[in-house]
Symmetry: C2
């Protein structure tokens, strides 16, 4: 008769019994087909109640270690332990996390991180608290695939006042970052399309498209932006461009080129333009050009923007505005998807925009960046660096270009960066293959710096 | 000489002048190549400062409507208005949003929405406030692709205490919903794989896989879960299963079948199992089976879980645990992706778990659901419905099955649903093609109901 020493039980007796029997089954001490004692006999033998035995048996049955046969009792099941026992010798169990940078960096001007001083924490907290206390029902309600109505309305009205765009909130699709939205575009347009990105340009885009399973080519630019001849050369279906403030060159595509690109898109069905308007909020002076989306009369332009630059990249909220026929295709084919942004943050951002905090924040940041940019440019110009370099900028966005005049100056600059632990990317880092990108040109993302933090001495 | 009536200007004069000239260029009144007046002459003529003219010209130049020729002056550019003028007649501008349901519904038992009474709003708000006031730096810092360290550690320790799983936090990948994570899995394993889902099962999965560009087949189940013979029949590479509490049948896969499935995966390189453990927190009694992930010694199982059931689906936080070699592949090939969940919510959830609120919440909800389930089952059993139906459940999860005894009973039940505006899905809604799913079986997601809200009279 099966007997276990219940004094060793640490917890409910039935759990302990279950554990003991299971171990014996796995170890083979109890063989497949073997009959287990009846509940009453076993209970008497162990000096416990039949309920305890019942519970232990139930658990074993539910896990498949034991089978019941009606009116016959409990039997050990045939647990065919064919797989997964122990670790295989040929598997490597070490995880290798790529290290961002080996060297210590004091000033990282290779990317735009928001200085914590500049995020409106207290207002964000206040708005978020109000949302939690006043919109409980809405917070628990599944959002439509494209995002909650309030946020889409707030974005539509922001686009109207900031960019002169007239869009139906239903054309807006909210997603957890532009990278996610590119995936949605690929699903909308099909995996067989050829995407082109600007060269030089934001090279990560190429990785993203390739990783998501579509072809991605590079199309060269001239001083007006991407070339239609290049789009044709690489057989582009979908051109992903930043016509309003190209990264990294800072080029604004003039109207003539805009119409050329639209004409290119119109020549063939299935051609589209993704207009990436990532930093339009930070044009420092003058009136920005209307986006391509607004001058497109033929539903060829998908407009994309994000709150990464205007708020922080660590809140993952981006959006795109689809031409009507693509919005319809989106609702027809993808309504089953859940929106990827939390309701809590969608409602918070919607209020933040509606109550005017977003506009105030942008205005404040624009002034802040303008001052910061002026200080840094002046500091550079007044330093040794100013004597051997030129600054290329168009009073827009959160970066400018610094062009060293010759090889010697470039070497001095490199040594300076190393000595002061500064990380800056070169324009050529954004260039694929041999191209027009000048030598010795660097991209200075100045937003991570405080005002006047560096002296360039 | 170009002359405009500046009395009509509503705003800065330069903006108005810019507008006028631009309109004339677009309308063709100013022809390509035409020379514009010099700044001084134009300023004298209009009675404004040269700065005003300069600003207007600069804007026109930056937009490409005007070109400068060194030492010669300003000329109208060749704005080749080839595209995008006006709306094309053959485009449909109406957006059709699919309507969820035409009929009014009082009780929607077809899905699990969280009753707003049950979400721990005040604690969530408190924790989130603490995060905002104490972790500003961290909130602004780009999270690793897999998610912020604190949350991954919190999840690892939750998995250890709730599921007995030993995982390295670096094996955990956090994403904005399981649907997003399936996309990551597809990118990890390749687009050419064949995915299988359980039949009957969560049919939305099939749409998701298909939409993301991979083949998705149905593999039938018996009373122990998915059949290995079926996986082989449809040439599965990746089996997506819910072995711990199958939706909708409620089946828990016994140990014997688990080992069979693992053996199937081990037979061939490139085969994997996605273990969807979506509601493991709500096993009401007994000890749950260890997940497949834990008994897999050969790196074949990707474990997935979500906070949708345990907190709310409207906070989009899910995670997967990758076998080590896939974690390495993830870091090698996808480290450039940004994590799709906001830092604010990642840090909030991390604290919520670490400070014990999550465990308390789950315990409270488990009791709540247990009581609610008992009440509803009793109400059904005591009513006319109890006389013509059987309840099938295994004391787990947030749904049970209701089986009507015959066609007549089924018709009565249908009429009752209609009269009381109740929406319930049938088991056959989750069945693809002809299959084993019984007739007249319904899935009751009881969580949207309050305790004892329906009388079944």
């Amino acid at each position: 008769m099966l007997t276990y020493d219940l004094r060793q039980a640490d917890g409910p007796l039935y759990t302990y019994l279950y554990q003991c029997i299971k171990s014996d089954i796995i170890a083979g001490k109890l063989q497949p087909g073997e009959k287990l004692p009846s509940k009453r006999t076993f209970a008497n033998n162990q000096g416990v109640s039949t309920i305890t035995i019942q519970n232990a048996y139930d658990q074993l049955v539910s896990e498949g270690y034991v089978e019941t046969q009606p009116k016959r009792g409990y039997f050990v099941a045939d647990v065919d332990v064919v797989a997964g026992k122990g670790k295989r010798a040929d598997i490597n169990y070490e995880i290798h996390i790529p290290q961002e940078d080996e060297e210590e960096i004091l000033y990282d001007l290779s990317k735009n991180e928001i200085n914590p001083e500049n995020f409106p924490f207290s207002i964000w907290a206040k708005v978020s608290r109000a949302v939690i206390s006043e919109q409980k029902e809405a917070l628990m309600k599944k959002a439509p695939t494209g995002g909650v109505r309030e946020l889409r309305e707030a974005i539509a009205s922001h686009l109207y006042s900031f960019r002169g765009m007239m869009v139906d909130p239903n054309q807006i699709v909210i997603g957890a970052g532009t990278e996610y939205l590119y995936g949605i575009i690929i699903q909308l347009l099909g995996l067989e399309k050829i995407y082109s990105i600007e060269n030089p340009g934001y090279r990560k885009l190429e990785k993203i498209y390739r990783q998501k399973g579509v072809k991605c080519k590079f199309a060269s630019m001239d001083e007006k932006g991407i070339l239609v001849s290049e789009l044709e050369r690489v057989k582009t279906d979908v051109a992903h461009i930043c016509p309003n403030h190209h990264f990294p060159t800072g080029i604004t595509m003039p109207a003539s080129r805009r119409y050329e690109i639209l004409a290119w898109a119109n020549e063939k069905q299935g051609r589209y333009i993704i207009e990436d308007d990532y930093d339009s909020e930070f044009r420092m002076s003058g009136k920005p050009l209307p986006p391509l989306f607004s001058i497109d009369g033929c539903e060829k332009v998908i407009y994309m923007n994000t709150f990464s630059k205007s708020l922080t990249p660590t809140i993952r909220i981006s959006y795109m505005v689809l031409p009507v026929h693509l919005a319809n295709r989106f609702y027809e084919t993808m309504s089953f998807y859940a929106c990827t942004v939390s309701n809590f943050e969608q409602y918070t951002l919607a209020r933040f925009i509606k109550e005017g905090y977003f506009e105030k924040h942008i205005n404040r940041m624009r002034l802040y960046y303008k001052r910061q940019r002026r200080n840094i440019i002046k500091t550079i110009e007044d330093s040794w660096l100013g004597k051997v370099s030129t600054i290329i900028e168009n009073d827009s966005g959160l970066h400018f270009l610094l062009k060293l005049e010759n090889k010697k100056a470039n070497e001095e600059f490199q040594a300076y960066l190393k000595k002061h632990k500064i990380k800056v990317n070169a324009l050529s880092d954004y260039q694929w293959g041999q191209g027009v990108a000048d030598e010795y040109v660097y991209i200075v993302n100045y937003s991570p710096l405080g005002t006047g933090a560096m002296s360039f001495r």
